[in-house]
């Protein structure tokens, strides 16, 4: 079907929401609540009468009316304006409210350059808050080993809560409300709340206060599996990986590759600076749907580890010592040859690897079969 975005005609598929149709055409409609891959929209979990609603960030103007672009499906002949003065006005209004409670200490924020709030404020010229909001300030929660939470920067988009609940399925986080404001807190069992603050079901405020008083922290969550998907979806700097590789997003190159751990085959987008991995994010692969686990998200330190082998080594007088490639290769080949020629090809055996690429495995078995003459090749599939 045909419709117009910002005055230009496009061909789109039936049954798609306006937001998705625009995204597929490369037209970016501002929003905080929808994840980059359109797998979920946390806006649906916002209370209807909520003062700081982000729902309208993604408004578009259709026939003079503002509608939320993720709520309506495309229709034939639609005339959609994604950045009309009316849209801008509505977005500025929301940004003005958000900025009133978000610290504007951007020069000291690691998320600088990647932050969506910063991006939109810059786009719409929002410089300061328009509202006087009272909210409870909280200290950083450093208790998880893999990530930390700085929820004073939280814009209440609900993405982390949503991904944890609907995609990871563990519900380690929850959104509580106190007055006009919402707060993300660890979702703990009633028993633990009772133990720590003497109440089975504390109110939102009591939960936040318990965190401030140091009575509970993210480390108390037995549900959290440290998968870091909350980190990956946070549009601002409220949940960040602890590994601080002192990079800025614009300094990095992004490359997608396949994860090296289990057999699911997740696609990871690595951020690389100067040939070194500085961060990992889930790519929208066919088997991982933009999700990762703790190993995929945080387990890449081994690649740049100082213990990595850098030279061939040969055992001399009982000790492994550095050697040249020539020497090591010649020795290996001569030992294989010696065994093959004196004791037959079956005196050589090889363990190939389920960890390395197909090409290595193919050549390894070919070496044993074609160059040595034995079928003594196996790998750790059974182990």
């Amino acid at each position: 079907m045909k419709l117009k975005f910002n005055g230009r005609e496009y061909e789109v598929e039936k049954g798609v929401r306006v937001f998705k149709a625009a995204k597929d055409l490369g037209i970016d409609i501002p929003n905080f609540t929808i994840d980059e891959n359109c797998h979920f929209n946390a806006a649906f979990d916002e209370p209807e009468d909520y003062e700081y609603s982000l729902k309208d960030m993604s408004v578009v103007e259709i026939n003079g009316k503002l509608v939320r672009s993720y709520e309506v499906e495309v229709e034939d002949g639609m005339d959609i304006w994604t950045d009309s003065p009316k849209c801008k006005e509505r977005r500025k209004e929301i940004l003005g409210k958000v900025v009133s409670f978000h610290p504007l200490d951007c020069v000291n924020c690691v998320k600088l350059g990647e932050c969506k709030l910063q991006k939109y404020c810059e786009m719409y010229g929002v410089k300061e808050g328009t509202d006087k909001v009272s909210y409870i300030k909280r200290p950083k929660d450093m208790s998880n080993r893999f990530y930390f939470q700085e929820f004073d920067k939280c814009i209440r988009c609900g993405r982390c809560v949503k991904v944890c609940k609907d995609k990871v399925g563990v519900e380690a986080l929850e959104m509580v409300q106190d007055g006009k404001m919402r707060y993300v807190v660890p979702n703990l069992d009633a028993k633990l709340w009772k133990e720590r603050i003497g109440k089975d079901s504390p109110s939102g405020k009591e939960k936040v206060m318990a965190i401030i008083d140091g009575k509970v922290s993210m480390a108390d969550s037995t549900r959290c599996v440290s998968c870091g998907n909350c980190v990956s979806v946070c549009p601002v700097g409220a949940i960040m990986p602890k590994a601080q590789n002192n990079f800025r997003e614009w300094e990095t190159k992004k490359v997608v590759t396949t994860c090296t751990y289990c057999g699911v085959g997740c696609q990871i987008e690595y951020l690389v600076r100067d040939g070194k991995i500085v961060d990992a994010k889930p790519a929208n692969g066919p088997s991982n749907e933009a999700l990762l686990c703790v190993k995929g998200k945080f387990g890449y330190d081994f690649i740049n580890h100082k213990d990595r082998l850098k030279h061939p080594m040969i055992r001399k007088n009982g000790k492994l010592v550095e050697s040249t490639w020539e020497e090591a290769l010649d020795l290996a080949a001569s030992k294989i040859k010696e065994a093959r020629d004196n004791f037959g090809p079956d005196s050589v055996a090889g363990f190939s690897s389920a960890r390395t690429i197909n090409e290595d495995n193919y050549l390894f078995q070919k070496m044993l079969r074609a160059a040595v003459g034995t079928n003594n090749v196996d790998h750790c599939a059974r182990l």
């Binding site: 751990y261 088997s287 387990g299 090591a328 290996a332 030992k335 197909n358 090409e359 790998h379 059974r382």
Partner: protein
């Protein structure tokens, strides 16, 4: 896998057995949770009350090593109540009469007694599984790592065949493969009896084909498996062992035995780190890590995906294939490749299931094998026109349950299960180098049922000597309520741990897999204090790390200070 990873979300009924999915295949585990939220049914059968058991509709806490009895019990119910797919059985299977006759005695009562579960739960599980043509079986090493591992798998296949659960979206028998490219290593012929694409070395036609392709005379004799290579070295039959990217000193059963063999052979090793195996290596070649090389991995759903170079290689490290190529040339077999893609283009020619793949076609979402031609879209679901075997006829195999000899020796009254944990990967050579992972799981432990613990006067943090017929190890105790009395559990990641105890001699007769999941052990409490000391050491190490080494130390200290201030009420 016969089906896809995300296909699990399309199933009506998910049967997870012998897989602690949320720990070993975490993203797959997330899908199970998503499916459950979407109202799908979940059956879990596992000796350990795994996290998925908590959300299961039916949970069967079976005795270790009794999967065949459970499957037979479920089949008994299915046949008794007429829940089987008669049409599918008639059209697509053989051996139904023998199977029916054999499972007759596996009444839910009989099977329940073997498995240690309530007969009614077996009935309910059978009814639930057979209620749909979208019943998805997901299993892992809890099914295969038994001395009757092949039987376990066949018995699950019986279940799927008798209910017609093959060849459609959301069903099938799906082994969750543990390593990133274990599927690919098998596909590529890193097996003692198989050339690439499971073409048998003892088949003269296949041999002729590969002799023509590779231009040399080839050996028709079956080779040695990993588990058979170790004794062959000790018997002086194998002189040179070439190990690429493995750590047999920790991963292979019966570590003491393995150490002797590695010591004896001339050992050539190729790896990214020195590991426990390097202690015995005569030559070590440094290689690039996955992030530093181009190539392909084949995941558990047979999807071939690209691996792309993104980081700079370390020092003089080389591609694995480059080293192999250099050695082949030195052995007198002349060959030359400039890049991994050259090898891929060669292997396509002799691997029919990969024939239609090119690096260009693998961009984006990759391709599922079989993909025989360049215009073939790949095959996400196998057996769509009936089982691939023998013109669409699947084999039903009547299999009796056998008890592991490990459970019969009264001198070793406890059954030890070994398994993977979320944070670590195999022998930890990679994961332990992420500090946060190291601090999360720094050392070995054993989990003990709470009643057993009471009887043995054990509490958390006590120290236990665990002994099997092969050897022993001393580990810290964690008291749990997720195990049945008489069953213990230990992660397999740690050197001098679980594999000191496992058996390298009694193997599955078909595939030579060791029985890692059923190890007979005895235990003895040893002097305390040690574990406390170790815990303190690790805690101090962690504090010292965050104080002195951690790049985010400023933030950490700041937070600590804020916390202190908050404590003072300022």
């Amino acid at each position: 896998m016969t089906n896809t990873v995300t296909g699990i979300k399309k199933a009506d009924v998910i049967f997870v057995t012998g897989s602690n999915t949320t720990e070993a295949h975490p993203v797959m585990g997330m899908y199970v949770r998503q499916a459950k939220k979407a109202g799908k049914k979940l059956i879990v059968a596992d000796p350990v009350r795994i996290p998925l058991a908590e959300i299961a509709d039916i949970y069967l806490q079976i005795t270790p090593g009794t999967s065949v009895a459970l499957s037979n019990g479920m089949l008994n119910v299915i046949f008794e109540e007429g829940l089987e797919d008669k049409e599918y059985i008639k059209e697509h299977t053989e051996g139904i009469e023998e199977l029916k006759a054999m499972v007759k005695k596996y009444t839910p009562e009989y099977a329940g007694k073997i498995c240690g579960v309530n007969p009614d739960d077996i009935r309910a599980a059978a009814r639930m599984y057979a209620s749909s043509h979208k019943s998805y079986i997901a299993y892992a090493m809890g099914i295969t790592q038994h001395i009757n591992g092949t039987d376990n798998v066949m018995s699950l296949s019986n279940l799927a065949l008798c209910t017609g659960n093959f060849g459609r979206e959301g069903c099938g028998v799906n082994p969750l493969r543990g390593q990133n490219n274990v599927q690919g290593a098998c596909d590529m012929g890193a097996l003692p009896t198989d050339y690439p694409a499971y073409q048998k070395v003892f088949n003269p036609e296949v041999q002729a084909k590969f002799e023509a392709a590779w231009g040399v005379k080839l050996n028709p004799n079956k080779g040695l498996t990993v588990t058979k290579t170790i004794p062959a070295i000790l018997e002086d039959k194998v002189k040179v062992l070439y190990v690429m990217g493995e750590n047999p000193a920790v991963s292979d059963p019966d570590s003491h035995h393995v150490a002797h063999a590695l010591e004896k052979a001339f050992l050539i090793q190729q790896d990214i780190f020195l590991n426990e195996t390097s202690e015995y290596a005569d030559i070590v070649f440094p290689v690039k890590a996955f992030a530093e090389k181009d190539g392909t991995f084949s995941n558990t759903e047979r999807r071939v995906q690209r691996v792309r170079q993104l980081a700079v290689p370390k020092g003089e490290s080389k591609d694995d294939w480059w080293i192999i190529m250099e050695i082949m040339n030195r052995l007198g077999y002349k060959c030359h490749y400039d890049k991994a893609e050259d090898i891929f283009n060669e292997l396509r020619k002799v691997t029919p299931s990969y024939a239609g793949m090119t690096y260009a076609r693998l961009e984006g979402k990759g391709l599922h094998w079989p993909c025989p031609t360049e215009d073939h879209p790949g095959t996400p679901i196998l057996h769509t026109n009936g089982p691939i075997r023998n013109k669409g006829v699947g084999l039903l195999k009547a299999i009796e349950w056998i008890e592991s000899p490990e459970r019969q020796d009264k001198k070793y009254p406890f059954t030890l299960i070994t398994a993977r944990i979320l944070y670590h990967y195999h022998t930890r050579t990679m994961t332990d180098r992420t500090r946060a992972i190291h601090f999360t799981a720094p050392r070995n432990w054993v989990e003990v049922n709470k009643d057993d613990a009471m009887e043995l006067k054990l509490k958390d943090g006590d120290w236990l000597k665990v002994t099997s017929k092969r050897g022993s190890t001393e580990v810290e105790v964690r008291v749990v309520d997720t195990l049945e009395p008489g069953v213990m559990w230990m992660p397999f990641h740690y050197a001098d741990g679980a594999n000191n105890l496992s058996d390298a001699e009694t193997l599955d007769p078909v595939c030579s897999i060791p029985g890692y999941k059923v190890i007979g052990v005895k235990v003895e409490k040893v002097s305390g204090g040690e574990s406390k000391k170790l815990t303190e050491e690790v805690n101090n190490e962690e504090i010292a790390y965050y104080e002195n080494e951690d790049p985010s130390r400023i933030r950490y200290k700041e937070a600590a200070a804020e916390k202190l201030l908050a404590g003072k009420g300022e």
